[in-house]
């Protein structure tokens, strides 16, 4: 499964993975733009509004009927945050030609690519402007999504840590934006932003399926020949902060209506980001809090029965590491201390051969498993392409296998704790329960 990458239109790059392993094909288009407070909500809204109707399929009913007739193909708006780059567009999946139950069915790749082009480039407009009704309806739903962030307390606590810890950085926002940035979007401004986005943003297209790259290229060129291409803005990247914002760790506690407390700790990966070694960073994270054999899971969750979950994760593009844990509010100090102790062990190289071997084994296995899922491959290659990296999952697995104990402790020693966030229930109530 070798990836082939081509520039099919100015600033439009197609990555093709030909394989007959999967029963479905996947096609995605992502326009890349700077993640920033001012535009983030607008950008996220664009594909959702486009998905409401086109000149040929004027409303959701018409698009739905078309997709159903293509054996339930899916075409969904998507907006992602990759470091400080926002990737907005669509992804589609559809069953492979080999599994169409009726002979003589139209080939789905071309049909889906055509619909994708239609949705992207021929929206239902009046006087050249996106329909106010569609914009207003999707804007309200975006606001509903923004407000609903609070429903999932685990995800919300991570969101709050990022927002508070990176307050002065573009990274603070997530792809939905907030009520201010989404609240005031009108259809005239959104039409303008839409036109600017499709004409100036570089685009990454990804295909994975059984079609040969020439056929894919042809289908996409046919579907996108109307794509306006102006001066492409390649000035994209992520500003990596090496040190914590203040000399001392910042602490933030917030009260919400919860029985289980959520403890989230944010670290800067620090100096190792000068010349980051993605394999070493991943292995460090795996030993520390990446899975059931990690120090956090075994020693904080299992050994101390302190919490239901304790794990860590990284954003390598931005150079951050997070620890997340669900705990009894009274265990706050104990849990914080236990997590610190495990990190100190990482720093001093107190890592057994078994710990290192298991972490590498499961990471290398995860990397190899990427190639079993078209969806995971899509995310992997988008991230690789943004970083200008050309190696695939198999090579990354081999790099992981080569990481040494010294590499891991070097990453651990480079970490700087920046903020501790704690979400807990109202103080009086928990006291009463005791």
């Amino acid at each position: 499964m070798k990836e082939i990458r081509n520039e099919i239109l100015p600033g439009v790059f197609l990555t093709c993975l030909q394989t007959d392993k999967f029963k479905t094909g996947l096609l995605s288009v992502s326009f890349l733009t700077r993640l920033c407070r001012e535009e983030v909500s607008q950008n996220t809204l664009i594909p959702s509004v486009l998905r409401r109707g086109t000149t040929r399929y004027p409303d959701m009913d018409a698009i739905a009927a078309r997709l159903d007739s293509l054996y339930g193909a899916r075409l969904e708006p998507v907006s992602r945050k990759l470091g400080e780059i926002q990737a907005v567009g669509f992804w589609a999946d559809f069953i492979d030609d080999a599994y169409l139950p009726e002979t003589g069915s139209e080939p789905l790749l071309e049909a889906v690519a055509e619909l994708l082009g239609e949705v992207l480039l021929s929206p239902n407009t009046r006087g050249g402007l996106l329909l106010p009704g569609y914009v207003e309806s999707e804007r309200k739903k975006l606001l509903e999504d923004i407000r609903a962030r609070v429903n999932d307390k685990g995800a919300y606590s991570r969101y709050r840590l990022t927002e508070l810890m990176c307050a002065a950085e573009d990274y603070a926002v997530d792809v939905l934006g907030n009520e201010d940035t989404a609240g005031s979007i009108g259809y005239v401004a959104l039409t303008k932003r839409y036109k600017q986005l499709i004409s100036t943003a570089p685009a990454e297209i990804f295909y994975c399926g059984s079609a040969d790259p020439e056929r894919v290229k042809r289908a996409l060129r046919d579907a996108l020949f109307l794509l306006p291409r102006g001066e492409i803005d390649y000035d994209l990247g992520t500003d990596i902060r090496m040190n914590s914002v203040e000399e001392d760790v910042r602490y933030f506690t917030e009260e919400m209506d919860v029985t289980q407390g959520k403890l989230v700790i944010g670290y800067r990966l620090g100096e190792c980001m000068e010349d980051p070694d993605p394999a070493a960073i991943r292995v460090m994270n795996a030993v520390f809090g990446g899975g059931v054999s990690s120090k956090l899971f075994r020693n904080v969750r299992e050994a101390m029965s302190l919490c239901y979950y304790a794990s860590s994760g990284t954003d390598i593009l931005k150079g951050l590491l997070f620890v997340v844990s669900g705990i009894e509010p009274e265990s706050y100090d104990l849990a914080l201390e236990a997590i610190r102790r495990e990190l100190d062990a990482m720093k001093s190289g107190d890592i057994t051969e078994d710990e290192l071997r298991t972490a590498k084994l499961s990471l290398a296995s995860d990397m190899r498993t990427l190639s079993d899922s078209a969806g995971l491959l899509e995310g992997f290659w988008l991230s690789q392409n943004l970083q200008g990296l050309e190696y695939g999952p198999e090579e990354l697995a081999a790099l992981v296998e080569d990481v040494s104990l010294a590499d891991v402790t070097a990453v651990a020693n480079s970490l700087e704790c920046d903020m501790v966030y704690f979400m807990r229930g109202p103080e009086e109530e928990t006291d009463e329960e005791d």
Partner: protein, 425 residues
Amino acid sequence: MKRTDYTAVGETLYSSVLPSGLPVFVLPRRGFAKTFAMLAVHYGGADRRFTLSGATFDTPAGIAHYLEHKMFDTPEGDALLRMNAAGADPNAFTSESMTAYHFECTDRFEENLRTLLSFVCQPYFTQESVDKERGIIAQEIRMYEDAPDFVVYTDLMKSLFSHSPLRDPVAGTVESIQQITPELLYECHRVFYRPSNMALCVVGDVDPEAVERIAGDILTDGPSELPGRDYGPEEGPEPVRTLTERRMEVAAPIFMIGAKLGPMKTGPEAQRDRLAAGLALRCLCGPSSPFYIRHYSDGLLNATFGCDIDHGAGQYVVAFEGETPEDPGAVLDALREELYRIRKDGFDKALFLRQRRAAYGGRVRALMNFSGVAAGLAGGCFAGFQPMDSFGMLSSVSQADTEGWLRDNLDPERLAMSVIYPKED
């Protein structure tokens, strides 16, 4: 092993029942790096009252889930860690009707399969280890209790049922798990963890004969008497209460509307019934149905809306869930109105045909989900049918079957609703 080809979807299934009574299913997937294996036990949160050899057992809510947590303990240590050290990613889950232990790996499959089968067969609990787990499970329960999706579901089950064990959450409550002892766990293991009450399902680039051989080596108990499950007297069709409301820290009202659909069927009849049910719900309110699109457009519903059928404790349940910025009562009214309309007019023919086509595509897509396929094979085995046969059966499920299913099962006057409103300021 018996080989069955499903050429239309490019699959070959190998199956057999071992002398121990264990059903084994292997779906080879050439060219994939990972292999997924699941050993499922036909025993879940709802199986609390049962009889065996004349004796009746009453066990606390949450015991099947507690047992799942403790099964990873072995005299040689934590099986989770042992499998992880051998490159596998092991885990487990408990539903109302099933406990499943599974792993995924890219290497050393046979070794990991042996470990999985061994620890599920050999209970090893001490008072100390059982007591220690209580804190972890209590935290898990607390986490669920803070999750609005979970609370709205639990409230709905309590609204629908008068006495079925489906009223209680699978994990039990912090109070109910206090009654769980090592002796009770051993007892439940002895009663339910019999090879003939399990299914082994493997999806990946493996040799089916090797899977069969390893399972035969490790699961050696012969077939034995299976427990009688007692879910109490059959529930009547009416919900206990039609509306349950509460407040939590959520942004907008979260609702779940449900109905009891009557006793569960088994065998191919159950399979046809489920296919008809799936099509009926797709046409009624699926993501490309006129009902959903109309109310997505007018703002009553958003993309969180969905519906599903659950089966457990001998019972089918349908649930429609979502979030609305408006009055949840308006959603209930709209759904009821649509049900009446379809009872009278039926579905539009073109709509039915395209939904059936889309359902086929959806099933092909679902084959790519290894864990879903394995869980489907186990669930089908426990209900007496082969889910792979659905590809062939789907085209014979007619519009009349689908409309008939809706008329017979979903009475617009027997819906219950549970709502979580935002806290008042």
